[in-house]
Amino acid sequence: MTRIATCLAERGRRKLLVPFLTFGYPTVSHSVDLIRSAADVGADMIEIGVPFSDPLADGPAIQYSSHIALQNKVSLRQIIDAVADLRKQISLPIILMGYFNPILTFGLDRLARVGAVAGVDGLIIPDLPIEEGRGLKSALEAEGLSAVFLVAPTSPRERVASVDAQATDFVYAVTVAGVTGARGKVTRDTRDYLQGLRRQLTKPFVAGFGISSPETAAMMARDADGVVIGSRLIELIRDARTSAAGRRNVSRLLASLRTALDRVAG
């Protein structure tokens, strides 16, 4: 079984905590430390953001972290090497999330091949909807990697069904029509949408976009199998006085999310 399949099979009632961290932000070495400490405080999977010059689906926080990461000269090749290194210490699933052009440039088949060797477990491409994602699915699955596709509140039922069918292991549910970014509250519409997904999807799903606190995470996790938190972590790092303080704040928030999610699981 793959690391993702094992993680999902063994989760029981546990709600998945999936931190998103842009690789190379605030620096390459600090981002590696951040990934390690996220694993230590109860993350179930890690999403590593591959920076892109034109992140269309991202709000200001992740735009900023991508910009800094590119200034730090981060490349996809380097990220894969870093994953190989991280594999000596952490065993939880690692998923890369990045826009299509850097991946296309690197080569999908090549990425699947070298990614599998390095210990990458899956890929999320926010600008590759299912119609354009067939090549992604076959390339990844050939190497035992997971293709993660997204659904959104604007996806009609038929599309939700197609995404469910195309996804290798699980689905990523975008919780709001909008770009990434921490939001204060979870609306009734969001809950209705997540409950609809719960009824329709046959595969597990994690909820992302707009999760900023233990409260929002717990609200989402009542209906979803887990939550992704990204922008808020970037903000904590950005706003901290030192990188050590940033990492402490990130760990503290993740630990409180872990507690909140475990409470939902009862």
């Binding site: 269309l56 996809l76 354009e132």
Partner: protein, 403 residues
């Protein structure tokens, strides 16, 4: 040479391998809805009549085909003719598309309009139709472009639209487009995004081409009716490529007519500071479609450069990528300096101030005059007027270096 099939784009929005829909899931259903609505107006005679009426009385079409006699003499090559899109209301071809798209937006019941703009001509044309039809309008414009196209910014505001400065990345058209797409992702249910060039996810390259085709349709009609033969060549500048695809499209099947697209060579295509996407790019994905794109070896999109804000874009419409590969259209480039000199020449010899974008097409004819006989007729798509370029023209004239 491959012949151009009428069926393009195909159902998946592909021109050969180019085009498609590389967008966040959130807007896929909106693109489906738009595709359906656009197909419906294609069968709707009332829509066509309404569009034709607005093009006539509000835009001022048809635009004339004009013999630039003194410029031709001065250049000393073929006869140079201008298709006068600069005489359209708001001063460029952009309004052909915005009138079409706003009528479509109305049919779809959308109340809020957003658009990106580089030179400001598309922003102006969008703000204009929003005022005319009473819809809310937000224009995204790079902070650098706001500085260099100040007159258009003031006009857009005067027309009641909000201009939102974009300060990310290059602070030009590329980032304005990204920001407009982010707005659309967020407000997709209420908002209609009027894309200004033949770029973006399917069906936009199709929609923009169809609304700009009027340029080529009129040109073909006028030349067939009044000229002894079709033109030897048609020349148009290419940023995203909407005026070019508009004037080229009905001539694709007229294979004796050369079609030339002229990109922005900036400081020279080997300098790294240019926007000559088809000359120096490779297939890649930006703003929703697969097309030629200028990016580095890690797939990061490079910052383009052009003296002309409207051409200062690292991508190009997917149909142009297809037409380049098929060989039906020849794509070339001229530098900032060459374009600026042609602008001055056209002012002095024709009493027409062309846009800096347009000046690239004129400069190409100047450079390639020996390719043609004196009796040959070349049509340049005079895509817009240069009033908006006065700030940058003044810095050029005073001998200051461009950025």
């Amino acid at each position: 040479m491959a012949t151009h099939s009428k069926a393009l784009p195909d159902k998946r929005g592909r021109f050969g391998t180019y085009g498609g829909r590389y967008v966040p899931e959130t807007i896929v259903s909106a693109l489906d809805e738009l595709t359906e609505a656009f197909a419906a107006i294609g069968r709707d005679r009332a829509f066509k009549a309404e569009l034709a009426a607005h093009l006539k009385s509000f835009v001022g079409r048809p635009t004339p085909l004009y013999f630039a006699e003194r410029l031709s003499q001065r250049v000393g090559g073929p006869e140079i003719w201008f298709k006068r899109e600069d005489l359209n209301h708001t001063g460029a071809h952009k309004i052909n598309n915005t009138v079409g798209q706003i009528l479509l937006a109305q049919r779809m019941g959308k109340k809020r309009i957003i658009a990106e703009t580089g030179a400001g001509q598309h922003g102006l044309a969008t703000a204009t139709v929003c005022a005319r039809f009473g819809l809310d309008c937000v224009i995204y414009m790079g902070a650098e472009d706001i500085e260099r196209q100040r007159p258009n910014v003031e006009k857009i505001r005067l027309l009641g639209a909000e201009v939102r400065p974009v300060r990310s990345g290059s602070q030009t058209l590329k980032d304005a487009t990204s920001e407009a797409m982010r707005d659309w992702v967020t407000n997709v249910r209420s908002t209609f995004y009027i894309i200004g060039s033949a770029v973006g996810p399917h069906p936009y390259p199709l929609i923009v081409r169809e609304f700009q085709r009027v340029i080529g349709r009129e040109t073909l009609h006028e030349t067939r009716r009044d000229w002894p033969a079709l033109p030897a060549a048609i020349v148009a500048c290419v940023g995203g490529g909407s005026n070019a695809i508009g004037i080229f499209y009905d001539f694709l099947k007229e294979t004796e007519v050369e079609l030339i697209g002229v990109e922005a060579g900036g400081h020279g295509v080997s300098s790294g500071a240019h926007a000559a996407t088809l000359a120096k790019g490779k297939p890649g994905v930006l703003h929703g479609s697969l097309s030629y794109l200028v990016y580095d070896r890690d797939g990061q999109v490079m910052l383009p450069h052009s003296i002309s804000a409207g051409l200062d874009y690292p991508g190009v419409g997917p149909e142009h990528s297809y037409l380049k590969d098929s060989g039906r259209v020849e794509y070339s480039h001229v530098t900032d300096r060459e374009a600026y000199r042609s602008l001055e020449l056209t002012c002095r010899f024709e009493g027409i101030i062309p846009a800096l974008e347009t000046a690239h097409a004129i400069a190409w004819v100047q450079k390639n005059r020996t390719r043609y006989q004196a009796a040959d007729r070349i049509i340049v798509c005079l895509s817009g007027r240069g009033d908006k370029d006065m700030p940058i023209i003044l810095t050029q004239r005073d001998g200051t270096k461009t950025s």
